[in-house]
Symmetry: D2
Subunit: 134 residues, 4 copies
């Protein structure tokens, strides 16, 4: 079992009806995406073509921050607040989609290809969780 899975399984109270497997996938996708976007922004900074990549770098930085916060909100279950969970998942879907679309135009750079895939996976995991909550 992964660490996120073990932490979910050891939460001492009830998870409030949220699907634990779906929640775990979203948490793991958010942390993975936060790392990939931080690294992709940095890799773009080191490309000779950096002047053409500034919009994508900004998208990466936003996506890293939004995924970090979404991953933290989803890792907390005490006093669960469906409204905030939903609002952060919606912001995360927007950030991941924007970043995946941008990086997806530059798959000749391996870091953008990997980052676009990770963003799509995170977007899907958050969309699936959102649907299950409503």
């Amino acid at each position: 079992m992964t660490v996120a899975g073990e932490m979910l399984a050891s939460y001492p109270k009830d998870l409030g009806g949220v699907d634990a497997a779906m929640l775990q996938r979203s948490i793991e996708a958010c942390y993975e995406c936060a790392q990939a976007c931080t690294a992709c922004a940095d890799a773009c900074l080191s490309e000779d073509s950096v002047a053409q990549l500034t919009t994508y770098i900004r998208g990466n930085l936003d996506c890293a921050d939004v995924c970090s916060t979404t991953g933290r909100v989803l890792s907390r279950h005490t006093g669960y607040d469906a409204n905030l969970t939903r609002a952060m998942l919606e912001a995360c879907v927007v950030a991941c989609r924007t970043c995946a679309d941008a990086c997806g135009q530059h798959t000749e750079m391996d870091h953008c290809r990997v980052c676009a895939d990770v963003c799509r996976r995170c977007q899907s995991a958050c969309e699936e969780l959102l649907t299950s909550l409503s």
Copy 2:
């Protein structure tokens, strides 16, 4: 002029039609609220009645994280993305309202009284900016 105001005024390109004064108020409110919520969560942890405050502590932690990320997204103007700005402002409004409502029930504790006021100011600044963007 404040530092956030000087940074906005020195941005080398156009701000894309966003009202600079309104943007500055939201940025400053987000950073102020992130600090107050971090401190309020910690102050609640040190109250003898901590066992009755766990839901509020969680709300404070979420609000600190959401305001931090919103403050960062609003501090970036390169490749401005109205969709993400709007989604984060909406999440920030939810986090601040929830936290203000919770802390507002405990104004006998000074840290909750101050924190509730700061959350309300941040909520208003974000709502005003949201309205101006749509």
Copy 3:
């Protein structure tokens, strides 16, 4: 290969003599530990004995923040600054050791047992990387 490994392998310039395998282990440990500590703070908040756990909760919150920032600093290679890398790794070792020692006293709670293990792994990975840098 993991995402962090793929991102490292696709960095377009040189990593500046840092051991890539060791760096990858530290990056992954930092993100894993940031998640586990966020979840453990929340799980502690939901324990009936929360009033006895406040010092540990604070240690968890600090460790989550320090590991997040260390994971970000380690994920960047452009304009590598050995002094900052070293200073953050040292702070991360302190945060992980403190948190592991605290959670290690409460292994009857599964979340603390898992979290202590994750903190020890992150501490070791950061110590090993630190040694290789000096």
Copy 4:
């Protein structure tokens, strides 16, 4: 009184011998510096000369993250841990000094001039607090 000052004054327990005025200055400097560095990284991204600024952008991003985490650690007083406080203040001094030195070479750009000043103030506040702790 500022919000950070009001939050400090309303902390329900003892601050453990830390100088409250000095602590407040460091907390406020960290949050201000985190904002300025986030904005300066973004302003650099929008400069026509961005290809010459990549090392500084990376320094700004690191400094924003390190100041954010230092600001959070300093905002918590429950279960005060002098070792972690010291280690984070040392990392923050390194990050601010590096960033101030880099931005200080580009004071023809207003955002770098402002950012260098803010970084120096944050460095000084953290150094002063560090000295008072040892």
